[in-house]
């Protein structure tokens, strides 16, 4: 198992290096930061001094070599905007995103398992049809639209929830609701589908012939065998949330890594962009390993 993790880690380091290279050059296509950070009437000398100070006057490949050299010493560069370590900025924002992602994915998975299993237990019933309708709606509604409508209704209309920002528990409600909706919708479909096929498997017949209670057959035998595809999809959704829900974080002014990333791109704060990419890539790598290990826990036939 440890050799498996080691192998996966070494592969991931390669892809992270590739990713950082790509990001390094792509961000520099967005333009010259001095155009943003200096006043419009700054002199040519002032611009040259700014470029020199931040190493922006060097040829691109030289800048890249410098960047790699610094990376090896765990120096991730300075934020132009905030004038402190870029990594510090990224690591400050990341926990905010993690909290949101964790709550949203746990909530949507738990709800989806319950709703999907009950729907599959009685296919074609009223509950099943309602669940299918709800999940389809949840999966297809664009999150930015839901977010804006929610703000209009609950913050502007009823004035029971704050429009954006952080502080009280009320600030959590709308972001979590919006981020839970789509994963919930998709997962209900997955759970229902795999449960339907699990409930027709031979071992379910055995369980019925043994005289087990219905509840135990559904949640003990069928569900446990349906979890692998659910974990796969939930893991994929979790990945996109950890990546920073850029749109939702921006709409709700949530100080997470998604918002930080988009702000840094707009502000041409290159070191911060690179640091946020590094942080999320590492998190996704750890998440994927965890999902793989979870497979082995759920299915004893899978061994690494």
């Amino acid at each position: 198992m440890f050799s498996y993790i080691g192998r996966r880690a070494s592969h991931s380091i390669l892809s992270v290096i590739g990713l950082l290279t790509l990001v390094f050059f792509l961000t520099r296509l967005t333009g010259d930061p001095s155009a943003l950070y200096l006043p419009l009437d700054a002199t040519a000398e002032a611009r040259a001094a700014f470029a020199r100070l931040n190493g922006l006057d060097q040829p691109l490949h030289w800048q890249f070599a410098e960047y790699l050299k610094d990376l090896l010493q765990l120096d991730f560069g300075q934020s132009l905007r905030q004038n402190r370590s870029a990594m510090e900025v990224a690591l400050e924002a990341f926990p905010e995103t993690l909290k949101l992602a964790f709550i949203a994915i746990t909530l949507s998975t738990a709800l989806a398992i319950l709703v999907g299993s009950l729907a599959a237990a009685r296919p074609g019933s009223l509950f099943d049809r309602l669940a299918s309708l709800a999940s389809l709606a949840g999966a297809s509604a664009p999150d930015f639209w839901v977010a804006i409508v929610a703000i209009l209704v609950f913050a502007v209309g009823f004035e029971i929830l704050p429009t954006s920002g952080t502080g009280s528990w009320a600030h959590w409600v709308m972001p979590i609701f919006v981020l839970t909706l789509r994963p919930f919708g998709l997962l209900v479909q997955v759970v229902r589908g795999t449960m339907l096929s699990a409930l027709t498997s031979p071992y379910i017949k055995t369980a019925r012939a043994k005289g087990l209670r219905r509840q135990k057959i559904i949640f003990g035998h069928a569900l446990r065998n349906s979890l692998l595809p659910v974990v796969t999809v939930a893991g994929d959704l979790a990945t996109s949330l950890v990546n920073g829900a850029v749109v939702v974080e921006s709409i709700f002014g949530w100080p997470g890594i998604g918002k930080l990333m988009i702000d840094a791109i707009i502000q041409r704060d290159f070191a911060v962009v690179q640091s946020t990419i590094l942080v999320t890539a590492t998190a996704i790598f750890i998440l994927n390993i965890a999902i793989d290990l979870l497979y082995a826990v759920l299915d004893p036939r899978i061994r690494y």
Binding site: S201, K210, G211
Partner: protein, 572 residues
């Protein structure tokens, strides 16, 4: 026998299944009963409705699509359909238990066997936790699982096929049921393992006095177990009575046909389908063929080598049928795959029509693949479900362009279909529209399309009903005479090849343990393993004395050893 008070009495049972919203009658006016301590065998081929009636008793039929139109099931004086779900649940597993055909599919793959057995106790309030565990260990010991204290924490996939069926049996007998229903319990097992499982069932029945309802398509198994037998065909009972009478003097035409299709007549050899022509020149010569696999084992065990095929030499002459017989894991299918160049051998040589098979490249290899064809066990799995029969049969001509010009394809497909006993208009249909036997005929037609000289049949008839088996073998024998084909016929079922193969090789653990003309193998087997295989073929119950002598039981012991070593090599 207490005829007056049977433990289970099924009367005029009629069940429909909805298929495309059309009700199809699966079981039509079926009545039977079973007494305590008695074995009733329900005999029939696939689709005869034999499983449906017992599934009704167990409340395993979903309605819809199933629909119990009429009939009653009275268990121990209680009409089952009047009971509510909870009362039905209380009977299942406690008073009526069931085991199934394929224990790997019927055991939950993600739970240990201990947990699955323990559940029976827990759900019927007969003990939980440590108590259930102790009882489960005792059960595993009783059904012959070695080292039950540690094996109880194993998962189903870590057991051999025979052991998994033992686990199923342990689960079924946990609460000493009044009736045990066994639905094709040995169909997926090797013959020596089958003998042990049947022995175990008989012993348990003697110990507990339970009634046994056994569903099977296998006449030998039926004869070996039955006190009484009912024969089903197309949803109805066509014949019923004492086993001895039904088997020795079948009344109904269907039963007679079934029994005559049985591949093991005695020395009379009424239906000899061996090749009559004296064998011609050597077509295939195999020398010292060996295939080794490196088995990845635990972190500290290092690499181990496993010989799937061990120094095997044989030859096949033109117009000859060579039977390769062995149980699962004996290496017989590995030989087929290596000869077809699907896997590479570790060492050894094979010469086909003067050419070294393992050195072929490019054009010679293409030609070789055209001349050697394969027919697989599962004709459905080996056909693309989205291709119609014409496309399936013409595919070899797409690959080997020089066989036939495109405009002749249609006529040739029709010709081939007629050759294998189908109709030319079947060409436009798809595989799922055919029965198992018809599909195997299509697979044979496909093999014939490339005009082969040698056909390798890997368990080609094992999945078919016994009467269909006979037809397919008849067809193969006929084609051999008409087209001068040679066959390598791989099977685990010794009796099948009796009237078909000219020579037989018996394989065990990758080696050929015995080889010779078919009649010699059957009349005077020399190797102990061949003898045990022949002995393991079930014998009619009425010919076997009640308390069998110890010599008879030694079959079971060799088999058990076999099973254990195989499992040992798996578990490492």
């Amino acid at each position: 026998m207490n005829q007056a008070n049977p433990i289970l009495k099924v009367e005029s049972l009629t069940v429909d299944f909805l298929s495309d919203n059309e009700p199809v009658r699966a079981v039509d006016n079926v009545s039977f009963h079973v007494n305590r301590g008695e074995t009733l065998v329900i005999l029939g081929e696939s689709g005869s409705g034999k499983s449906v009636s017992t599934s009704t008793v167990m409340d395993l039929i979903d309605c819809p699509p199933g629909d119990i139109v009429a009939g009653t099931c009275v268990f121990d004086g209680v009409e089952l359909s009047r009971l509510d779900a909870e009362a039905r649940r209380n009977i299942n597993g406690r008073r009526i238990a069931m085991i199934f055909q394929d224990p790997l599919a019927y055991l939950n793959p993600v739970y240990t066997v201990g947990r699955q057995i323990g559940e029976v106790f827990e759900s019927h309030g007969a003990g939980s936790g440590k108590e259930a565990r102790a009882k489960s260990i005792e059960l595993l010991r009783r059904v012959g699982i070695p080292e039950p204290e540690s094996r109880i924490d194993y998962y189903p996939h870590q057991f051999s096929g025979g052991q998994r069926q033992r686990v199923m049996i342990a689960m079924a007998i946990a609460l000493k049921p009044d009736i045990l229903i066994a639905d094709e319990p040995t169909t997926a097992l090797d013959v020596s393992v089958q003998a042990q499982i049947l022995d175990l069932l008989r012993d348990l029945q003697r110990e507990t006095g339970m009634a046994l309802i056994m569903i099977t398509h296998d006449l030998e198994v039926a004869a070996a177990m039955a006190d009484r037998v009912i024969v089903m065909n197309a949803g109805s009972i066509v014949e019923a009575g004492l086993a001895r009478e039904v088997f020795s003097n079948p009344q109904h035409a269907y039963t007679r046909r079934l029994i005559s299709a049985l591949p093991h007549g005695d020395a009379a050899e009424v239906s000899n389908r061996r090749s009559t022509t004296s064998a011609g020149e050597t077509l295939l010569q195999v020398e010292n063929l060996t295939k080794e696999y490196v088995v990845a084992s635990g972190a500290f065990a290092g690499k181990r080598r496993f010989r799937a095929v061990d120094d095997v030499s044989f030859e096949v002459r033109r117009g000859e049928t060579v039977g390769i017989v062995g149980e699962s894991g004996s290496g017989k299918s590995s030989i087929a795959r290596i000869l077809l160049r699907l896997n590479e051998p570790s060492s050894g040589k094979a010469v086909f029509a003067g050419q070294d098979v393992f050195r072929m490249r490019g054009k010679p290899l293409m030609d070789f693949r055209r001349k050697v064809q394969m027919v697989f066990q599962d004709p459905y799995g080996s056909m693309n479900p989205r291709m119609n029969v014409r496309a399936i049969i013409s595919e070899p001509w797409v690959i080997h362009r020089d066989i036939l010009p495109r405009k002749a394809w249609k006529d040739r497909v029709a010709e081939l279909l007629e050759l294998v006993g189908l109709k030319p208009e079947h060409a436009e249909r798809y595989p799922h529209q055919f029965s198992g036997g018809q599909r195997q005929r299509i697979a044979i037609a496909r093999a014939l399309a490339s005009e082969p000289q040698l056909i390798i049949c890997d368990e080609a008839v094992s999945a078919l009903d016994v009467s269909i088996q006979a037809q397919v073998i008849e067809l193969l024998a006929d084609l051999r005479t008409r087209l001068g084909l040679s066959y390598i016929f791989i099977t685990h079922d010794l009796p099948i090849v009796r009237h078909f193969a000219d020579r037989i090789m018996v394989m065990k653990q990758g080696r050929i343990v015995e080889e010779g003309p078919t009649s010699t193998i059957f009349s005077a087997p020399r190797h102990e393993y061949t003898q045990s295989l022949l002995r393991a073929v079930p014998k009619p119950k009425w010919l076997v004395p009640e308390e069998r002598p110890t010599a008879e039981r030694s079959v079971g012991k060799t088999g058990l050893r076999l099973e254990r070593t195989r499992n040992g090599s798996l578990a490492g």
